[in-house]
Amino acid sequence: MTRPDRGDADGKPRAWGVVVALAGAFAGAVAWSVVTGPVPLSLREVVEAFRHVLATEPSRSPAARVVLELRLPRALLGALVGGALSSSGVAFQALLRNPLADPYILGVSGGAAVGALTAALLLPADASLPLPLCAFLGAALAAAGVFLLARRRSGVSRERLILMGVVVGAFLNAVIMMMVALSPPGKIPGAIYWLMGDLSLGTLRRVGLLVPYVAAGAGVLFLLSRGMDLLLLGDEAAFQTGLPVERVKTAVYLTASLLAGSVVAVSGLISFVGLIVPHGARVLVGSGHRRLLPAAFLMGGTFLVAADILARSMSASGELPVGAVTALAGAPFFLYLLRRNGGKP
């Protein structure tokens, strides 16, 4: 993955065709998610519901409320989270020139988890917004901390970023274990589910709050896509091309961290998506970031929405944690995709 796509002479029509197909799958997954659920509604009722979009809450029929206030926010949340984590994963893999990098590698997850547990322990159980807020603050603090620790006058080296990220992550993991061990029983069950990844926290308001963050984050990364192509060549070579290497690295790092932090704050720690979807997307469209980023966003969103549909409907014993389903159902699929590619990562 470390070399830019040889066929990166841009007008590669097949690859853009794949992006369009992925966009279709993305929309299809969201639509499928909206028509499935425990309240049995006919397709017509679901379509009808969208006529109520502009109606205020009390005048909506119960069927419309189920569709617009429960299913739609959840589907959109899954799409946003999956897309954001995959984009962030692409950025981290380019920044660190490491195929094992994912959005959580540099302590974002640990910081968010400490923030979420702090909220669960210190705030009353029914104060629902502060948990995402505290999680986001924790993620942002951890990301900033790792960056400041890794920085030297000469700039930020990949090795120091990884080292500091791993050390800070290990420290935060220890804090998490202490908090779980020392907390009174019954105080943090909600937080435990959050740690496993949980899309049920989606409400229209939260999705609305999240949209600008994800749009801005994914947009900035897209603008940096040429920079990321060059970063894959190594700092020296990238510098030779006239790229302001340190500034690009800083921008990629902060954007990708905040993008991951903002979605993790709402959805909890959904694993696997940010690590493996970038590889899957690379198999389909190559490693030029201008195509890879949109492809990974669409593929990640599709994948997470599909995993959530499975998590909700696979077992009759209630919902499964979507974070477990992503790896359980996703691993075989991506293994197939990667193997089919003839072992070329």
Binding site: S61, P62, G186, P189, A316, S317, G318
Partner: protein, 296 residues
Amino acid sequence: MDVRVVQPPARIVSLAPNLTEIVFLLGRQDRLVGVTRFCNYPPEAARLPKMGGIVDPDVERIVAARPDLVLCTTDGNPKDRVKVLEEMGIPCFAAAPQDLAGVFRTIEEVGTLLGAPDRGLREAASLRARAARIAARSGSGPVPRVLFAVSTSPVIAAGKGTFLDELVRTAGAKNVAASHSGRYPRLSVEDLVAAAPDVIFIASMAGVERFSPDVTRWKEVPAFRDGAIVTLDGDLVTRPGPRLVTALEEVSRALSAWRARREPGAGSAGAARVRGWTNAAGVQRAGAAHGERRRR
């Protein structure tokens, strides 16, 4: 487990709160030399020496207490630690009642074991009579749909095969979570809306007594609309001990209150519910059919 005690034990260690309660019920508390840190009822139990927890009993402490009988439960106590105690020659008696009848039987068995067989039979008979009174009363009137929540955020309900399910059924209600296959299914808000419980019980543990406003704003759920949410002491309903009958009585009382409200002329709540939902494209009826499909 095969236990032979030649004479009634004089030094007893109990490794489960429900067994501790049974020893007190039998009037043998003066022989208890150790309990778990969760044994808080009756209040005097909390003052007895602690032998660790349920899943982490402290073997060395137990041995040091020189018991001639250890009461343990297969629902929680680790087998290997109990085995260590047995190998050291300490008689261990395991009881893990799975339903009300099991609790009554356990009281009789422990009574025999502690040299108080008559007391055991008497206490068990009195509890049986109380439970039978509830069951007899529950036969008439409309059948409320009930959800028993053991956690409110996320919503986790007691399903088939739990004590809570038995309490709900014995009190003459339908447990809406029984259509899920697991013992403690996790429910989404949409599951709740589809299940439409009339009454919701919460087994309260520290910190999780209330539903979040994001959940309770679904007034399509009759229990939320009518405020029919009853909080019960979590210890009462999760311990297979004598107080399970007290829990049954409290559940039954809450359901009687619900039935009284639904009597014709006692308010329009019931009628409003049917109207509200049937107008909504038959969601309520379809929901019930869906439940049946799941059970099959």
